[in-house]
Amino acid sequence: MVEIFGIPSQALFSQLLIGLINGSFYALLSLGLAVIFGMLNIINFTHGAQYMMGAFAAYLILTYSGLGYWSALIIAPIVVGIFGVIIERTMLQWLYKLDHLYGLLLTFGLALIIEGVARNYYGSAGLPYAMPDSLRGGQNLGFMFLPNYRAWVVVASLTICLGTWFVIERTRLGAYLRAATENPTLVRAFGINVPRMITLTYGFGVALAAFAGVMAAPIYNVSPQMGSDLIIVVFAVVVIGGMGSIMGAIVTGFGLGVIEGLTKVFFPEASNTVIFVIMAIVLLIRPAGLFGRTA
């Protein structure tokens, strides 16, 4: 057994992998938050609940229609995304002219409702969700054993994150989006339907959360409070990264996941709090966040 810093390499690498997996979810969720914040100027507190809805949708799709993981990976984000569109049209759109804090309060209320309903029907205990057969097993890399499903999660998350970054930063559609966040009135004058763009952006951000939820279902149990535990950590990730940039969300998401994983190896008792401690340090040095532009 090879040892690194007095830790068996097997343990070190497996924690590193767990860190990468958690990082994948942090990145996907903070990316969704960043996209929504960019267009709507609303901190979507419901994000955790929508992530949970994604996982539940996958579970329900399997239980009631027998459709497996791969179908759920497409259907669940669409369904939850449509739910997001309905919320934006019926509630959020009335808040844009008000202080941002009302958006936070409204989405917090929605999160309470969604979680409460889920808890009433499914209790607090988790429901198991089986891994797709095609991703069972794993690879022996020599220095560690890599389960296929976990490798898939990391790759899929990276692909989605970089794809989103590419669309927003490098395509014409992304250019419209960025322009609309700067000056919606002017962009409307060019004949672009800005309100519809805002609605679809919210739907897309919510779908991202649901997508993360489906991917999380086979790893963690599907449980009503899976989102509320995660969302506060993601908020800290967002503060650290700075909400200004998409790349910031991706890099800090993965980076902090890995740091958290390593902390679990070296100082297990600090692993729950390390991200918050980093947040405090970053705030002292760079209040705008690592990738943020100063407001």
């Binding site: 901190i43 917090f108 999160a111 967002v238 503060v239 705030l283 002292l284």
Partner: protein, 322 residues
């Protein structure tokens, strides 16, 4: 954060003072009579939360800062008050003051970090710091983990007055609550309070007038955290227990809800909001888990339909300030 209708003009000042004075008189009368009709333990619970909500409202209503982590001061103060009374054997008045001091110290640390950012970032930072301290509370030895600190003695006030009777305890809680309420009233009607309102309305302008707004915001934050700590400490002595529920972020959400229901930025709103929410939780017990859903619905309804809250709408209707 608060509707722009709050622009205060000088001539109306005396009339405002009078309506506040009358409302205060009514509140005192109700609190004196209430224990003859309502179970004192319920009243004490509601009063502790009313004080907590007033402390929270001092920040959001008068400085425009939404702290989403006020459970941190409330919960940790209740832990230290409980510890002081049970393990250190301090008399109740000193135990409660220990709670207030805990709130002040934590408020100073968290506040000086959080005021570096504004708006929703401020909310997220306060929430994240509170969650960090929640994990400390879960892991630390003295907090008793899932069990909390139980069997906290109420003790004898100043070594003389035995607090075991609910009625005596109630009298103490009312005195603490009213004293803090008057203190808050004094703060918001002082020149310091006027500067806070100026920061809420337009911070860059306040800065250009030469005010060091960060310092004002921090002082307001520490005051709010101290009063929240006082509320938490009192609650620990009244209920003789300190537990994880009071440090959990759901508690931070609850105090936001109380203030929102009563009316953000109104003097009496948080008190009414706290009584409404606590009554709801006590009397809707049968609905069990659905209480969370109902709270969520109230949240959404408040934000979408009546942002002024109960007292805000009432004050608007009667054209007075409450």
């Amino acid at each position: 954060m608060v509707a722009a209708t709050e622009t205060i003009t000088a001539p109306a000042h005396s009339a405002e003072g009078r309506s506040e004075f009358i409302a205060f008189g009514i509140m005192v009368a109700v609190l004196v009579v209430a224990p003859f009709f309502i179970y004192p333990l319920f009243l004490m619970q509601a009063l502790c939360f009313a004080l907590f909500a007033c402390a929270f409202n001092l920040l959001i209503g008068y400085v425009g800062l939404l702290s989403f982590g006020h459970a941190l001061y409330f919960g940790w103060a209740s832990y230290l008050s409980a510890h002081a009374a049970k393990v250190w054997g301090l008399p109740p008045e000193l135990a409660i003051l220990t709670g207030a001091a805990t709130g002040a110290v934590l408020g100073l640390i968290a506040g000086s970090l959080a005021i570096r950012r504004q708006g929703i970032y401020f909310a997220m930072i306060t929430l994240a710091l509170a969650q960090m301290m929640y994990f400390f509370a879960v892991q630390a030895k003295f907090t008793g983990g899932e069990d909390g600190i139980q069997g906290v003695p109420r003790g004898k006030l100043f070594g003389l007055i035995d607090l075991t009777s609910h009625n005596t305890m109630y009298a103490l809680v009312v005195v603490i609550f009213l004293a803090c309420f008057l203190f808050i009233l004094r703060i918001i009607n002082s020149p310091f309070g006027e500067v806070l309102k100026a920061i809420r309305e337009n911070e860059p302008r306040a800065i250009s007038l030469g005010y060091k707004t960060d310092r004002y915001k921090l002082v307001a934050f520490v005051l709010s955290a101290t009063l929240a700590g006082l509320a938490g400490g009192t609650k620990a002595i009244v209920f003789q227990i300190a537990s994880l529920t009071d440090v959990h972020w759901a508690m931070s959400g609850e105090v936001v809800l109380m203030t929102l229901v009563g009316g953000l930025g109104t003097v009496f709103g948080p008190v009414v909001g706290a009584f409404v929410i606590i009554a709801m939780q006590n009397y809707l017990n049968a609905l069990d888990q659905w209480v969370t859903v109902i709270q969520g619905i109230i949240f959404v309804a408040c934000v979408l339909l009546f942002r002024r809250g109960i007292i805000g709408e009432l004050a608007n209707l009667l054209k007075i300030k409450l």
